[in-house]
């Protein structure tokens, strides 16, 4: 039975982090090298944490299922990273970034965590610049900013359309430096399949070597998970092919509570689906909404081409409904509005797509400026679709993109298992029910560079610096669990392929646990997922061998976890009888179709404790709002 | 001096050796061509030129030594690079599309250079050897150098070999000229196109001018007046 204690320090919100840092226990520099820390994942959060911890003198073991740390999906983030620098003199401040983030998250995040995030945001920019991240510059040589959805100040730093890439390469360069020094040992092509818990504390992991198929044991005095989100439950999402929830899910099954699984973000600007064999939905940066105008035809079943539809027969629905934020409305609102107009039958060509039109911006700013701002995105669009967005409007549609939910963590980013820390998208902490654009990079790096190095140290200060023996019985048990599962997957010899089942799960999730949910649909989804799970374990066919590079087996293990996690997402969505952020329950909306929150009953974090497959116990962490006044979000 | 050897033998060091020696050879070829062109002005001009070289023999020997070192290093390092580069790609592609991403001369530098090397051996054994060490009777007239050269160039097989060699040399220079600049790190958006153009003119000019001599003596030369 777990107990949730957020461990938020006392005091004024602006002083909490400073005071907390002072109150933390420190590890003697000479003792630091006696501590081993495992960091799973080499994205922004994982790489920055591993590098920073190693810089402090700890021995770090870093794990990735890729061939190289730099492949992590943080690399694909396009738009930018927020920080409260107020370089533009437009009234930004730590407090405003904090406020915007809490509001953007529809008042479902923990104030103290968000404030800290806003507070360290500025350090991140300094750090990245020092590492040689080539952020965009003004002519005077100072850093440039752009604006992003959900904010009325210009606080987003960017490096062309590849901010995530540049930030990740920066973090990886710091990691590489430590690898070169021998302070970090990097294990590539390893997939974490089990967390080892000894006497209630996280003490190691069990991995499968993806090249040889061997099951390997690694021990440490603390384990840090930075393994990203779970959007791939939907099969089609903007996530990378390998992004998965397995590490987090296996930790969950070992006792780490999973918080707010139903908070999933559907990104408004992705490419629409083109066919059955599509493997993912590529994202087009949200920054496009700075200059692009979103519209659909006013008429249902419009058959004319975009450029033939006259201005007065177009519905710029975001500008119409939300005049003050317009095309820059937050992601959840933009996505849901797109679904609404398409459900009305006004989608492009009757399908699920809306226009994102640059004709007006090109007319106003000239093609050259647009090319400078979005050139690579336009090229990417043309490569994929074969259409030229300088001439015809882009077609976009929302797609699963980010998961605000994740393993529950306290203020120290420690999960309900002592010694298990969870960073970045893998935790639930900072974005509430909806994440604002350019905040994911900020959170990943905040956690990795500026939070975990302190809080993990604080934990270690009360641990003995003794090597953990991998011959411990718990390691044996963990290996056996993994081995049994792998053997079982390989022995079913059914008729369905992994992808077939994953696609079925994706369809259930998208239709019933997607952008708009209702009680009936969620109940159906729960039953359908249970059935599908049964089908999976009876009729799956995993070809290939155990002790070999076997990508089918890798995917099978991940889908097995999605089949459990998907159910929890539906269970959580069903529990939450309100609409907030990325969670929209059709039963709970205003007359105008806006999300209707229920602050009296649902102002809590839903943290689910695993009991057995298909059975969880709910724990609630009540959210207190002392600094931000609860209000209905309005972007009108 | 261990650092110097290590530097020279690193991948970029080897390139640098190739570029330095290549550059020297590029300059040498200009001087060589000017000398050769005196053939057009008759025996006296040519013999005068050769005898001038004879007068400053000590200096020429020094230059010859540098030239020799340039050739030796260019050839040894070129071969070494080629062997190492072969080793770096032990399995080749079934379908090779390299003609669509690079120039012929850049890909075949080693073989082009090897052919030039063979030519060089023949060239040295005919002219350099004869000019310096071989002085048969009957040629001891005042036009002897001129006559040796013209004698050879009027042999069709020799002239044709010479002409072909010059075309191949042109290919080698075409890649080598701009390549040297790249290796020295002189690649600039503004100036590199100019360097490449000069390289092309140089390569065609050298090949054309050198080859014009055998063509002239083979087809248009009426005999010594």
């Amino acid at each position: 039975m777990i107990k949730l204690n957020s461990n938020v320090p006392e005091g004024n919100i602006a002083e909490k982090w400073t005071n907390h840092k002072f109150n933390m226990k420190l590890v003697n520099p000479a003792n630091k090298r006696k501590f081993d820390i495992i960091v799973v994942g080499t994205g922004l959060a994982g790489a920055s944490a591993a590098a920073s911890l190693a810089e402090l003198g700890y021995n770090v073991q870093s794990f990735t299922y890729h061939d190289s740390g730099r492949r992590a999906h943080s690399i694909a983030a396009q738009g930018g990273i927020n920080a409260a620098k107020n370089y533009q003199n437009d009234g930004d401040s730590v407090y405003r970034l904090f406020y915007d983030t809490v509001k953007g998250g529809d008042f479902r995040s923990r104030e103290a965590n968000v404030y800290r995030l806003a507070e360290v945001s500025n350090n991140i920019i300094d750090q990245c610049v020092a590492q040689g991240v080539p952020f965009a510059r003004e002519y005077g040589g100072l850093l440039d900013n752009r604006s992003f959805g959900g904010a009325q100040v210009s606080r987003t730093f960017y490096a062309r359309g590849q901010t995530g890439q540049q930030l990740l390469l920066g973090a990886i360069s710091a990691l590489n430096r430590q690898i070169g020094k021998g302070q970090v040992k990097l294990y590539t092509r390893r997939e974490m399949l089990e967390l080892v818990v000894i006497d209630g504390h996280a003490k190691g992991i069990v991995c499968r070597n993806l090249v040889t198929g061997e099951i390997e044991k690694y021990s440490a005095q603390a384990v840090v998970l930075a393994t990203g989100g779970y959007s791939n439950v939907f099969f089609l999402s903007t996530n990378a092919m390998n992004s998965n929830a397995t590490a987090a899910w296996r930790a969950h099954k070992k006792g780490a509570a999973f918080a707010n699984p139903c908070y999933t973000q559907i990104h408004p600007t992705c490419l629409p689906l083109h066919g059955e064999n599509q493997s993912k939905l590529p994202l087009m940066s949200e920054s496009l909404r700075n200059d692009g105008r979103i519209w659909v035809p006013k008429k249902k079943g419009e058959t004319r081409k975009a450029n033939d539809i006259p201005e007065d027969e177009r519905d710029y629905y975001l500008e119409r409904k939300y005049p003050s934020f317009g095309n820059l409305s937050p992601r959840d609102i933009s996505s849901r509005s797109a679904k609404e107009v398409c459900d009305e039958g006004r989608g492009v060509g009757g399908s699920e797509a809306v226009y994102l039109d640059f004709a007006e911006a090109i007319g106003r700013l000239g093609k050259k400026v647009i090319e400078e701002r979005y050139g690579n995105l336009f090229d990417m669009y043309q490569t994929i679709t074969g259409e030229n967005p300088y001439e015809v409007p882009m077609k976009i549609y929302p797609a699963p993109h980010y998961t605000m939910g994740g393993l529950w963590v306290d203020y120290n980013l420690q999960s309900t298992i002592p010694g298990l820390f969870v960073l970045g998208e893998a935790n639930f902490s900072d974005h509430g029910a909806n994440r604002l654009g350019a905040s994911a990079l900020m959170q990943g790096l905040a956690d990795g560079y500026f939070v975990a190095p302190y809080t993990v140290g604080n934990y270690l200060a009360s641990e003995k610096p003794a090597k953990v023996d991998t011959d411990h019985v718990e390691f044996g048990n963990a290996v056996k669990t993994v081995d049994d599962k792998v053997q079982k997957l390989l022995s079913i010899h059914g008729k369905h392929t992994v992808d077939e089942i994953h696609k079925k799960l994706g369809r259930i999730m998208w239709n019933k646990v997607g952008m708009a949910r209702n009680e009936k649909g969620l109940n159906e989804a729960i039953n359908e997922i249970k059935e599908l799970r049964e089908d999976f374990w009876k009729n799956l066919n995993v070809v290939g061998e155990y002790k070999d590079l076997n990508q089918t087996l890798e995917r099978a293990g991940r889908v097995a976890d999605y089949l459990e996690l998907g159910e929890l997402m539906a269970v959580d969505a069903l529990d939450r009888n309100e609409s907030c952020g990325g969670h929209f329950r059709e039963e709970y909306q205003t007359e105008e179709g806006e999300a209707l929150r229920n602050d009296n009953e649902y102002s809590y974090v839903a943290a689910w404790e695993f009991q057995e497959v298909g059975k969880w116990q709910l724990h609630k962490e009540h959210l207190e709002f002392e600094n931000v006044k609860l209000a209905t979000r309005s972007y009108k | 001096m261990g650092w110097l050897l290590r530097s020279m033998n690193s991948s970029i060091g080897k390139k640098f050796v190739m570029a330095i020696t290549g550059s020297f050879l590029i300059i040498f070829l200009i001087v060589h061509l000017i000398g050769n062109l005196t053939l057009y002005f008759g025996p006296e001009a040519f013999n005068g030129y050769v005898e001038t070289l004879d007068i400053i023999k000590p200096l020429i020997r020094v230059i010859e030594l540098v030239l020799l070192l340039s050739f030796v290093y260019h050839i040894i390092y070129g071969t070494w690079l080629w062997i190492e580069n072969k080793k770096a790609r032990p399995v080749s592609y079934k379908i090779n599309a390299s003609s669509e991403n690079s120039t012929f001369s850049s890909r075949w530098m080693f073989w082009i250079g090897s052919i030039i090397f063979i030519f060089l051996v023949i060239h040295l054994s005919t002219f350099f050897y004869r000019f310096n060490f071989y002085d048969p009777e009957g040629l001891a007239d005042q036009n002897k150098y001129y006559n040796i050269v013209v004698g050879f160039l009027q042999m069709p097989w020799y002239s044709i070999l010479y002409i072909i060699a010059m075309i191949i040399l042109g290919l080698h220079l075409h890649h080598g000229f701009q390549s040297a600049f790249q290796t020295f790190g002189w690649n600039h958006k503004k100036y590199t196109p100019l360097i490449k153009a000069i390289g092309r003119i140089y390569a065609i000019g050298m090949a054309g001018a050198f080859a014009s001599i055998p063509i002239y003596f083979l087809f248009f030369y009426g005999g010594s007046q």
Partner: protein, 256 residues
């Protein structure tokens, strides 16, 4: 968008393990022109799995051309014939009905085949670990705007930094040279003021490691630039050459 399916013959390199002998296996597929080449392979693999056969092992991740994981040699071109895209962005509309497509792994001594189309590119990471960074610890850095950098310089650095580390330059180069990859990293830092303190040390360490990893040497064919999915310019190689030579001449270090 979609029109009729294309019928294609695929000849794909199959190799069970690093030490086993590989060969081409032929497959006939019918694929939508809107699919990417990797989606075509997904479909092929799904069919193979359904028949109980071992699918073709290949790597990919983001499928947006930025992570650098995918990399196949398609009809002799790393990432296919279309310029400036990664394999995952190569759509089947670029092929003709009835065409035969050869799919091979990247070939280089430094990139040994692990299985089928998957190769080990860790040599590139080792080069970065040897010096591809600016030595700053977390914290204690100056305010970001205290280092003004001209827009031009930032833009040049960014041009170099765009490298996705896929290894296509090595695969394209007849010498399997990694100089475009290494040159890009060296250039990025040698442009920026933050990179100056370690500029000459960095280039020496990285080049030494590059040589040690078994990559070939550049002979300026520029095939790398032509095949690079991000269009990284060979100017970066020139910059590395210049820095390397300056370092060797100026630096008092005799060890590297």
């Amino acid at each position: 968008m979609s029109s009729e399916n294309l019928n294609l013959t695929l000849k794909i390199w199959r190799q069970k393990s690093p030490t086993s002998v590989g060969s081409f296996e032929e497959f006939k597929v019918s694929v939508s022109p809107d699919a990417s080449i990797l989606e075509m392979l997904d479909e092929l693999n799904n069919d193979l799995e359904r028949e109980g056969k071992i699918p073709v092992a290949f790597e990919s991740d983001c499928r947006e051309g930025i992570c650098g994981t995918c990399g196949l040699v398609i009809n002799g071109h790393p990432h296919g014939k279309i310029p400036k895209i990664a394999t995952c962005q190569l759509h089947m509309r670029n092929f003709k009905n009835g065409e035969t497509i050869y799919i091979e792994p990247f070939r280089a001594k430094a990139f040994p085949v692990i299985k089928d189309l998957i190769v080990d590119r860790s040599g590139m990471d080792k080069v970065l670990q040897a010096g591809g960074f600016i030595s700053v610890n977390t914290g204690g850095v100056p305010d970001a705007n205290e280092i003004p950098i001209s827009k031009d310089v930032a833009s040049h650095a960014m041009d170099a930094a765009e490298c996705i580390g896929c290894g296509a330059c090595v695969a394209a180069c007849k010498n399997a040279s990694a100089m475009l990859f290494v040159g890009a990293k060296v250039s990025q830092y040698s442009f920026l003021p933050q990179g100056q303190p370690e500029r000459f040390q960095r280039v020496q360490s990285m080049v030494a490691k590059m040589d040690e990893m078994g990559f070939g040497s550049c002979t300026n064919t520029y095939a790398c630039e032509a095949e690079c999915p991000k269009g990284i310019s060979v100017i970066n190689i020139a910059r590395m050459n210049k820095d390397f030579i300056s370092a060797k001449i100026k630096s008092e270090l005799t060890e590297v």
